[in-house]
Amino acid sequence: MKSLTGKTLLAIATLTYLFMWVPTIILIVFSFSNDKLGIRWEGFTLKWYAEIFNNAAVRNALEMSLIIAIITIVVSTVAGTVTAYGLYKYKFRGKEVIRMSLLLPIVMPYIVTAGALLIFFTRVVDIPLGYPSILIAHISFSTPLAVFIVLGRMQRIDWSLEEASMDLGAGRLTTWRRITLPLLMPAVIASAVLIFPWSFSDFTITFFVAGVGNTTLPIYVYSALRWGETAAVNAIGAIFVALPLIGLLLINFLQKKRVI
């Protein structure tokens, strides 16, 4: 780095990166420590990771988080893509209203949506707390994400490709399947990549609407913190960090294998 500006920026950048990562890195490091409280170094061990897989509560929470995340991704990407298509292609009254209201779940503070949904599920309509309520909440948040990401991609596509396909004899459905969808794939995958971590690690909204006895992984972490059983938390935390990383590497690998 040559200039003074460059050096200053490098300094600021480095400090900021450290600021953001040091706590997490230390947490990961200490997840390998043989200390019950997970804050002192008492020797290297993998037992906390083992405990995760042996501990039924953790396994169930992990399972619940995964199931919810996967269902959310599938529903939200499909619904999001279809809606984005309709929003992009057609002109109709109320389009702006729909776009604005799709923005709502993303912009609202989590605590407000959490509370509103809880009240709605318990006092207004009778939706069971647990998988139904959590799924509804997650899908309500994730679909707008998918809509906007796919919409953004749509603005950069050459739509005469669809016309060419139809001109060559392919009907609407075939065109959609062979031309439109492949062209939208990067955006669909991008939304899946964004939705998964959000759904998997969401705490506030899930906590409010989960009801008694339904534990996702973040909820488990919360209870563990409340009751002081912190050692396993380090290991779980490391997993939370590792997951998106693995996901990203997977995407990278997949992108190299097939062309966008």
């Binding site: 050459d158 016309e163 060419a164 139809m166 001109d167 060559l168 004899g169 009907g171 062979r178």
Partner: protein
């Protein structure tokens, strides 16, 4: 009993298409002959691309009919029509190989695989695309992409091939080469081409018939010679390069000639045309290359001789675009002065000269 051969390949009857605020296609009727190249020529926004898209089925018409091979196809959706369009942007599927692109249409028709392979082989030979079957569009040059787009459409043997300014994005040299290619391919394959362009030179060199459009209306239909040498309206004349236009009315006739008096008071002589009534004439046009420049002293006797002063000479290589201000009216006349000639005569700006053209060169305008 109508002869099968005389049924036009494509026919438009009174086609109208309106967009908010503008009528893009205004009661256009035309017939496209089988096996020939038919061009829609006009400035940007004249409605030619819209008309093409209506024929392809990508736009709906408000009024009128589109017929292919004598059958009305107004309600037939695009994917069932027997025509194929080559887009200006080519619209090659970026995520498919050249092979997959070209075979796409055949796959939609459920043509068996070995038949597809055979036809692709023939098309690749015809287009000179050998060795590129497995590449993707992004790995091809502009000219190669052109040919893939053509191959993709031609392999379906459509009744008519619609081309929307396909050469617009190519540079000059490539464009000339592709024009020759296109003509060769059309001759070999024998399919009717319906070609849209704003480049009059392109239209003149490629077409068997040209239809000039402006602001949604059909101005004139004819062979390239007819369009170039006898444009019938001011707009066509201007567009085709007969840029010397004199609005006026017929004031006398006789001896096989007619005399017009222009708004500026010039007396212009043209040859009489028996099929045109004098009342319909609105002016005449003259191609710049038919306007001669003579030294000042030459006599004024004879038809279409006027005195003037050279105000501008723009060197264009093989000719010099010369603008002369006429003494009588103050209006400008454009002449293409041959560079070779000017080496002898040495005209220069500011010089007083005489311009003249023969009555045969005067083209009568009707609108």
């Amino acid at each position: 009993m109508e002869n099968r051969e005389s049924i036009p390949c494509v026919e438009l009857r009174n086609l109208v298409k309106r967009f908010p605020g503008v009528t893009a296609v205004d009661h256009v009727s035309l017939k496209v002959e089988k096996g020939k190249v038919f061009s829609l020529l006009g400035p940007s926004g004249c409605g030619k691309t819209t008309a093409l898209r209506i024929i392809a089925g990508l736009e709906t018409m408000d009024e009128g009919d589109v017929l292919i091979d004598g059958k009305v196809i107004n309600d037939v959706p695009a994917y069932k029509r027997d025509c194929s369009i080559v887009f200006q942007t080519l619209a090659l599927f970026p995520h498919m190989t050249v092979e997959a692109n070209v075979s796409y249409g055949l796959e939609q028709r459920k043509v068996p695989k070995d038949e597809i392979r055979k036809r692709i082989g023939e098309m690749v030979d015809l287009m000179g695309l050998g060795g590129m079957e497995k590449r993707r569009p992004s790995q091809l040059s502009g000219g190669q992409q052109q040919r893939v787009a053509l191959a993709r459409s031609l392999i379906l043997s459509p009744k008519v091939l619609l081309l929307d300014e396909p050469l617009a994005s190519l540079d000059r040299k490539l464009r000339k080469g592709m024009q020759v290619e296109l003509k060769r391919i059309q001759r070999e394959v024998g399919i009717t081409f319906l070609y849209v362009t704003h480049d009059q030179k392109e239209a003149l060199s490629l077409s068997d018939t040209i239809a000039v459009m402006d602001k949604g209306k059909l101005e004139q239909v004819g062979t390239p010679e007819e369009i170039y040498e006898t444009p019938r309206t001011k707009r066509v004349a201007d567009f085709i390069g007969a840029s010397n236009i004199f609005p006026g009315k017929v004031t006398a006739s006789g001896n096989g000639k007619v005399q017009l008096e222009t708004e500026g008071g010039l007396r212009v002589i043209a040859l009489e045309d028996k099929d045109i009534r004098s009342e319909e004439v609105t002016g005449i046009s003259v191609h710049p290359e038919l306007v001669e420049i003579l030294p000042e002293g030459t006599g004024l006797e004879g038809d279409n001789r006027f005195k003037g002063r050279i105000v501008e000479m723009i060197y264009q290589g093989d000719f010099i675009e010369t603008k002369i201000c006429l003494d009588q009216t103050g209006g400008l006349i454009t002449s293409y002065l041959s560079s070779r000639l000017n080496r002898e005569t040495q005209f220069s700006p500011g010089e007083e000269v005489l311009v003249r053209w023969s009555p045969e060169s005067s083209n009568i305008l009707l609108g």
